[in-house]
């Protein structure tokens, strides 16, 4: 740290999924030099996996994250399919897993939007914290609060019907799935689909209206150009469960396309920085300086050529009307794109539920030729998730590398915080309520796991310290 740099330390952001704090480094003129979002991941997990029998992985790795266990469950299962030489699941196996995945996306996006993000959008970021939370939403928009609960519940019921339990199920097994969907389970879910569709359409409209009404603000707020990375289907369609990697630049030009997960090491590397446990993934083609990218709903809506369900595709087109067809690089556009995916998910769920394959009995594909190593990817609610394993001839895991979505957005979140702090501080080294608010809103747009864990009441516990060059705390603000 340069001699004259001051640090504003905000801590801790979270208690459960890892501890985080934000340091904002100021230069001599009290301008923002850099922002560092520290997220302490659950280290040692990859080592813990070593030696375990491979078929345990889908259930074991769910423990990595209390927020998106289903994504880890399915990603590990896909990797293990590869290890045992299964390249094609049975229709029932494949569709049950897809249903589970889209159920997870649906419940995660609904939770985030209605309970975590909607206070920011409905009341504005500068609304008092006492109001800007889910309690405030319940008071002023009870219908929305109820919808959020019901939509989350719908997603969880799908997870239960496919994975066996709402949390930490065992549904995906090597080569397939351990249960099909009974007619009774199907009918119960089908009865809800129309309502979910209606509410999802409304949610897209809320996000769209918010963006259009506040276009001047959101065009600046935490906005910066970036690359975008996502899986897409062979025909360029959005596919959240499977596909190959595509990366595009801020202007939409392609950097890589149709890169198989197995070849990810050729295209993506992770940079280690001394101040962070969390690595910084980047595209090798561009290098660590400019090769970092965003992942998640915004990146996916930007990267795909189209969405193969009609309502979400119409919503995607409306999204691109605002940007004149080029990718959006606005942090706050995550909310709108997330709701487009919410809508897409319920359309996919509806289609799947009408598919008789879900009642099939051929659950598991027979193993093929064994591989010692495999890499699987999927698009988790928060972005591209990578599981890479090596398994020895005794069936024991010898190596695991997991690149989680939040890690992929590491640089992007730092940039967003830097931009927000720069705009807010503008030469005055003071910790304002506005600074706290805006950092919170900016980070939340990316829906990192650290925020989900603490946001039940719509606010982050924050402690802000202003530390001078000698290390003295000259200012301090806390928010419980």
């Amino acid at each position: 740290m340069p001699e004259a740099t001051r640090r504003i330390v905000i801590e801790p952001l979270t208690r459960v999924e890892g501890h985080g704090k934000v340091s904002i480094l100021l230069d001599d003129n009290n301008r923002v030099a850099q922002a560092r979002l520290h997220i302490v991941e659950f280290r040692g997990f990859e080592r813990f996996i070593q030696g375990r029998p491979f078929w345990e992985l889908p259930v074991l790795v769910q423990r990595l994250c209390g927020i998106c266990p289903v994504s880890h469950h399915l990603c590990a299962a896909k990797a293990i399919d590869g290890i045992i030489g299964v390249d094609q699941l049975t229709p029932t196996g494949e569709k049950m897993r897809r249903l589970m995945h889209y159920g997870q996306i649906f419940q995660s996006h609904a939770l985030h939007f209605f309970h975590l993000a909607s206070p920011d959008l409905l009341f504005g970021f500068d609304a008092p914290v006492e109001k800007r939370n889910v309690i405030g939403v319940i008071a002023e928009h009870p219908d929305l609060a109820v919808q959020g609960v019901m939509m989350r519940k719908f997603g969880q019921e799908i997870i239960k019907a496919t994975a066996g339990k709402k949390v930490h199920g065992t549904g995906a097994i090597p080569g397939g799935i351990n249960k099909n969907l009974s007619i009774a389970e199907r009918d119960e879910l089908l009865a809800e689909v129309d309502q979910m569709m209606e509410w999802s359409l409304k949610a897209v409209e809320i996000a769209r209206q918010y963006t259009l009404t506040n276009l001047a603000t959101v065009s600046e707020f935490g906005a910066f150009d970036s690359n975008h990375l996502s899986l897409v289907r062979a025909d360029g369609a959005m596919d959240l469960y499977d596909g190959k990697l595509r990366a595009i630049a801020a202007d939409g030009s392609q950097i890589i396309d149709q890169v198989a997960p197995l070849d990810y090491l050729d295209e993506i590397a992770e940079e280690v920085r001394s101040w962070s446990y969390m690595k910084f993934p980047f595209l090798k083609k561009l290098g660590p300086e400019t090769g970092w990218f965003r992942v998640g709903p915004l990146a996916r809506v930007n990267a795909c050529d189209f969405i193969d369900t009609p309502k979400a595709e119409a919503a995607r087109r409306e999204f691109f009307e605002v940007t004149d067809g080029v990718p959006s690089n606005l942090t706050m556009a995550y909310h709108w794109s997330r709701m487009i995916e919410l809508l897409h998910s319920v359309e996919v769920i509806g289609d799947l539920l009408h598919d008789g394959d879900l009642q099939g009995d051929d659950l598991v594909a027979p193993p093929g030729e064994r591989r010692g190593e495999y890499v699987a990817m999927l698009e988790a609610p928060r972005g591209t998730l990578t599981h890479h394993y090596r398994v020895d001839e005794n069936d024991q895991v010898t190596m695991a590398n997991l690149i989680v979505s939040t890690t992929c957005n590491n640089e992007a979140m730092n940039r967003a915080v830097a931009k927000i702090a720069e705009d807010e501080i503008s030469g005055a080294p003071e910790i304002t309520e506005g600074l706290l608010n805006n950092i919170e809103v900016g980070v939340r747009a990316y829906d990192p796991c650290l925020s989900c864990a603490t946001h039940a009441l719509g606010q982050m516990p924050l402690e802000v310290k202003l530390i001078d060059a000698e290390g003295n705390t000259v200012d301090r603000r806390t928010r419980p």
């Binding site: 259930v59 351990n178 069936d395």
Partner: protein
């Protein structure tokens, strides 16, 4: 029924045993569940785990080794004994590394099922987190010693049911562990995937490979009913 019935009581309930039966066996036949762990039907009782502890005429005894005798007064389902059993089960949990949340035996594990039956939500003793070895050298079977409770059922089953001698105990006290009959590990023994010894394991310590979670949650043995409830019957009206 044989003429020479042995009459005794368990918790005041009249039980009739045949000659040679243990308290546990006679109780089971009469519809009374005595919790057990190292005992298994068809194997010589070992009296190792003490989960089956009852009071016989006031004295603590393991029901799995105690022969039934006329006029015995046996206490089984008392608060005191439930507490003792709870403690024993509790200690079995903290002595090993029992991570039910990702154990493939979860829902079909007798140790876990006993914990549920006894209402143990979290052990009261501190976890010891011992370092235990896996043996995955066999192509079809593996041993995860993290989950071994040293009940010896595999040892006895291998000898008595499979006619082999694949497993045995080595070490003493805290270092006691299950060993196999080959230096290079299970893969070098004559253990086969069809051995009854593998089914004898009450926990997820001795397992067939690549079975994992094929049976969904909710459809596993103890998901349907608590352990022991297949034995329990109300006393016949007299």
């Amino acid at each position: 029924m044989s003429d020479r019935r042995i009459a005794f009581t368990i918790d005041g309930r009249k039980i009739e045993a045949r000659a040679g039966q243990t308290v546990l066996e006679a109780a089971e036949e009469a519809g009374v569940y005595v919790p057990r762990l190292c005992w298994m039907k068809g194997l010589t009782p070992a009296g190792a785990c003490r989960v089956c502890t009852v009071r016989v005429n006031g004295r603590p005894q393991s029901a799995c080794t105690q022969p039934a005798a006329p006029g015995m007064i046996v206490e089984n389902d008392t608060e005191e004994l439930r507490e003792l059993r709870r403690d024993v089960i509790d200690m079995l949990f903290v002595e090993g590394n029992h991570f039910c949340m990702f154990c493939e035996k979860s829902g079909a594990c007798e140790l876990q099922a006993l914990a549920y039956r006894f209402g143990i939500a979290a052990p009261k003793y501190p976890f010891m987190f011992p370092r235990r070895e896996l043996d995955a050298s066999h192509p079809d079977i593996f041993i995860d010693r993290n989950r071994c409770i040293l009940c010896g059922r595999c040892v006895r089953a291998s000898q008595e049911l499979d006619g082999k001698h694949v497993f045995d105990f080595v070490g003493r006290g805290r270092d006691k562990r299950i060993a196999v009959d080959a230096e290079a590990g299970l893969g070098d023994t004559d253990c086969a995937a069809t051995d009854r010894a593998i089914d004898a394991c009450p926990t997820g310590s001795l397992l067939r490979k690549r079975v994992g979670f094929a049976v969904p949650v909710g459809r596993r043995e103890f998901d349907r009913q608590p352990i022991g409830s297949d034995i329990e019957r109300p006393a016949a009206a007299e």
